[in-house]
Subunit: 299 residues, 4 copies
C-alpha cells in the first residue's frame, strides 16, 4: 500500500522502480495464482498486495495484484500476454501512480460534484478531472474555482436531435481528452442506449435510492410514501437498462417518521456523496471488476 | 424513564402510584397538547416523557405520553374519554408495567424465536410469551426449555381446509390466551386475508430483505443475483398485501462480492433478530402508531 | 416541521405568523408542560413540534418547542418571562427562520471548511457564515469563492503575546460581527482558558477521534498503534479541559488491519465532516441543550 | 468458499480431497507468494481463496490460503516445513472442516453464552463446545438444554488460593478436553498473569466498551457519565495487561441522551453478542493472525 518507495536519483523512466496494478478475470482452473506469481517473480517484480476471488456460480476467477518492479508498463504488457493467453484471461496492467482522466457530469444538484472536486484537489482521489459537463450553467463558477474546464452541453426537450447532438459532443470530448471514466454526479438526463454501449464499463452513476428499491424518478418521494426506516444511495455502472447496471457501492442512513421528503433529500445528499466517492476511488484504483451483472470489488 | 418510584407500603392497588402510557392520533388542530397536559395536571398525574408528531401530508397528529399518577387505568379511561371525544381522537391508555401477551410463530429457522425467548427471559422485552406456535415440531424442546407452551399446528399442502383449520386453531388460541400480539418469527406460511384482517395491527412479521426490495420468496438469493452491497431485514405489520404492510423497523449489514447466498442467509440472521426484537419491543411499549401505510415510532 | 406556511401579503412584520423555537431547562416538577402549553395556547400560538427530557440523575427537565404564532419574538420574550421565572427556567426564544451568524476557523486541513461552506450555500445549514478565520492563508481563495470574508490571524510560536493578540482579534471579530457560534473546523491551535470561558456554549470543535479514546495530538496514529477496528470523530463544545467538553455528536467508520495511519486520516475526513456538520446544524436549530458535562440533543 | 465438493464414495481418509487452511507470518521479502503457490501447485492442491498483507511498519508479511487437495494434513505439514523454514515462517495448517474445540466461560450475564450456544447448534460457528464453565450456577440449565457439560468452578473472594485452584481446574479441563480456544463470554473474574500466558493467543474476551475508552469496571456507567453518543463492545485476545490485548473486532450502537445506564447495558448486550460472535467465528476459521499488539483479520 505504501507509496513511499525511494525515488532513484537519475535513471531513465524505463529503469525506475514503478508501481503497477494487474487485474484479470478468466475461467477458474488450477495454477492461475502460481502462473501469475511465477511471472512476477521471474520478471523481478515484488507483490505488494494481492486479492482474488473464485465465483463458484459462474466458474470465473478474478484477481488484482499490486506490485513493484524496475520495468515499464509497455514491457509488462508485452511479456504478460503469453500468460494471459494461456489462461484465456481478460487482463489489464496499469501504472498505479497514473491518475485516471475523468469527466464529471451534473445537472442542478451540485453536492457530489463539489465533493469530488474537493477530494481530487486534496489528493484523496487518484483522478485528473479533465472537465465538468452540464446541461445547465449553474456550476460553471464552481468548476472555474478549481481551474477545471466547464462545458455547457444543453439538452432541449422536444427539440429534434438535441440529445443526439449533446451526446455526440460528449463523446468527442471523451475522445479528445482521452477520458477514461465518465461520472454522472447527479446528471439527470437519461442516456441513449448507444451512449451506454459506447461507454460501457467506463461510466458510473449515482442513483438516489437503495437499489433495487425505488428505481426511476423521485426516489426519495417513493421512499417517503413507503415509510422506509433507512434511505440509501447506489453507485453503479450505467447500462441501457435504467438503474439496473452492476452495483459498485451502496450506503444508507437511518431516518425517522418525522422526516419530510425534502428532508430525505437533504439526508440523501450525504449518502450519495459517500457512495459515489468510494465508487470513483475504487474504479480509479482498478479495484472494480465486472462479473456479469454484478461487480467484484477488491477493497 | 425510571421505573424506580417508591412502592407504597400498604395501599389498595387502585390507590398506588402507577405508570401509564397514553397514545393517541387525531386530526391536527390547535390545543391538543394543551388539552392533554391540562387533563393530566388536573388529575394529579406527572408527565415522565412525551412525544408528538404532526403529519403535514395527512393533517394527522400523533402523541405518546408516559405519565405517573395515583389512580387506575379504568378511572383514567373513563375520565379521558371526554378529551378524546372533543378532538375525535383514536386513543388508548395502558399500564406501563403490564407485560403484553404474545404468541411467537415459527417454521424451520429458529434464530428469531431463540432471540425473543432469551430477551423475554432476562427482562429485555416487556412481554409475556403465552405460546410458541409452529407448523413443525423442531422447536418444541426449545420452547419447553423456557417453560413456554408449544402448539404444533401443521399446515398440509394440498389438503383441503388445512390452512383454514390451522388459522382457526390459532385464532382460538389468541382468544383463549388473551393474546395481544402475534409475532411471525420466520413463520413461512402465507396467511389468509381473513386472518390478516382479524389480527390487523396486532401481528408483526420479519421479512428477510430490505423492503420494498426483494419481496416474496428467497430474498437472499434475489439479493445475491442483483449483487447488492448491503442486505437487510424488515419488521412490519402484516396486511393482506404480502410484504406491503407498514414498516416498523429495518436493519442492514454490509456484504462483499464473495458472500454466497448461503452466507447471506447467515449474515441475515443477525439483522433479522435485531430488527424484529426492536419492533416487538417498541410495539409492546406502545411506541408504534399506525399512520395509513406508514408507522410513527416514538423511540 | 414544514416551512411552507403562506407569507401574508402586506402586514407589518410584527403581525405576520412567524415560526419560533423555545428551549428551556429547569428543576423538574409537576406542571411544566402544562404551563408551557397553556402559555402558548393563550397567546394564540400553535405547537408544531415539541420534545422534552427529564433527567432522573440531576433532577433537571429540558424542553424544546417549535411553534407558530402571529406575534414577535420580543413580545414572546416579554410575556414568557413570568412562566420562566415561576419554574426557575433557563430559557431562550428564537425566530426559527433566523440564520445563526457563524465564524469558521481552520488551519491546514480544509475538508470540514469546504463541507460547511457548501452546505451553507445550498441551504442545508441555517447559518450565515460571517467570516473564515485561519492562522494560515491556504484557504483564502476558497473563502473568496464563497464570497465570505477571510481573516488571516497568525499565531507565531515562541513569540510573546502572539496567541493573546490573536485571540483578542478573534473576540473583536465575534463582537463586531455579532457572531453567535464559532466552529473550529480543524483549527489546530489550543485556545486559552480565558477564550474558552468567554465563548462558553458558543464554540464547537471537531476532534478526530472517538472520544474519550485518543485525546490530544495525532489521534489517528494512536488509533493505528492500538489496532482499533473502527475510527471515529467527535464534535463537542470547547471547554478549558482539552477534548473533555460536552459531546454533541460522534460518528465512526470501519477500518481494516491494512489501513495505514495516512489512510486512517483519509477515512477520518468523512466522519469528521459528518459529525461536525450535524453538530453545527443541531446547534443552529437550537436543538442542543447543555446538561452539565453532557448534552441533550433534540433531533 | 464453497463447501460443496463431492464426497468420494469409498476411499481411505488420506486419499480424499480435503479442504485445508494455511496461515503464516514471516519477514517480508520477495518470492513468498510464489513459493507458497508453487508448493501448492506441485502437491496438486488448488487455491480456493487467498489473502495476504505486508505490514510496512514492522516488515512482516501475513498470509492465509484456503485450498483443496487429495492429501492429509499430516503429509502437508511434513512437506511444507521446508518452505516454512526457508522463509523463517511462523505457520500452521489445519483441516478446514475440523471444528475447533471451545470452552465458554460466563458469570451472571448469559446473553453472549446463549448466543454462542445457539449459533454453534445451527452450524453458524465452526466450533465444538466442549464445556461451559462458570463461577456461578445460573446457566447450568441452559448448558444442559444444549447437552453441553457444565462445570461450576467457584472463585471465593478473600479465600486463599481460591482463584489459583479455580484456574488450575480450568487448565486441567483445557488439557483433558483438548480445548483450543477459551472464550470469556462475560466472565467477570480477572485472570492471573500466569493463566493469561498459558493460554496466550487461545483466549478471547468481550469487553463491554469501545476500547481503549472505558477500560476496567462498569464501562456503561463511565460512558453515561461522559455522555458519548455511541456505545461499543470490543472482542480481544486476553493478555496480562487488562483490557489491553490485541483487538479482534469492535461494534457500536447509537444512543441518545435519554438512555439511562441500565438501558445502555441493554443496548450493549446486542453489540457484545455481535462482536464476540464474529471474533469467535474468525478465530475458529483461522482468520486472525497476531501482529504484535494488533491483529490481522482476513475476512
Amino acid at each position: 500500500m505504501s507509496q513511499s518507495h525511494p525515488a532513484p536519483v537519475a535513471a531513465a523512466e524505463s529503469e525506475q522502480t514503478g508501481q503497477f496494478v494487474l487485474t484479470l478475470s478468466c475461467p477458474d482452473k488450477q495454477g492461475i495464482v502460481h502462473a501469475v506469481s511465477s511471472y512476477l517473480f521471474m520478471t523481478g517484480c515484488n507483490i505488494e498486495d494481492s486479492q482474488q476471488f473464485g465465483d463458484h456460480d459462474t466458474g470465473l476467477f478474478f484477481m488484482r495484484v499490486h506490485f513493484t518492479g524496475g520495468t515499464t508498463v509497455d514491457k509488462l504488457r508485452a511479456s504478460f500476454s503469453a500468460v494471459g493467453d494461456s489462461f484465456r484471461m481478460d487482463w489489464q496492467i496499469h501504472r498505479a501512480e497514473e491518475k485516471m482522466r475523468v469527466v464529471l457530469m451534473v445537472s442542478k444538484f451540485g453536492h457530489c460534484l463539489n465533493d469530488l472536486l474537493f477530494r481530487s484537489r486534496i489528493g484523496a482521489l487518484p483522478v485528473e478531472i479533465a472537465a465538468v459537463v452540464s446541461n445547465h450553467t449553474d456550476f460553471a463558477e464552481l468548476a472555474a474555482s478549481y481551474d477545471v474546464p466547464f462545458h455547457h452541453i444543453p439538452v432541449k426537450k422536444g427539440t429534434e436531435n438535441s440529445k443526439e447532438e449533446a451526446e455526440a459532443r460528449l463523446l468527442r470530448l471523451v475522445e479528445d481528452e482521452r477520458v477514461e471514466l465518465v461520472v454522472l454526479a447527479r446528471y439527470m438526463q437519461v442516456l441513449s442506449d448507444n451512449l451506454c454501449k459506447q461507454l460501457s464499463g467506463r461510466i458510473i452513476n449515482i442513483h438516489h435510492s437503495f437499489l433495487p428499491s425505488f428505481k426511476g424518478a423521485k426516489p426519495y418521494h417513493q421512499a417517503h410514501v413507503r415509510g422506509v426506516k433507512l434511505i440509501g444511495a447506489t453507485a453503479h455502472y450505467v447500462t441501457a437498462d435504467l438503474d439496473e447496471g452492476p452495483i459498485i457501492e451502496q450506503e444508507v442512513e437511518r431516518v425517522g417518521h418525522e422526516v419530510t421528503p425534502e428532508q430525505l433529500v437533504a439526508v440523501g445528499r450525504d449518502v450519495e456523496c459517500q457512495a459515489l466517492a468510494r465508487a470513483v476511488k475504487w474504479h480509479s484504483e482498478h479495484r472494480v471488476l465486472l462479473n456479469g451483472q454484478r461487480t467484484v470489488v477488491f477493497t
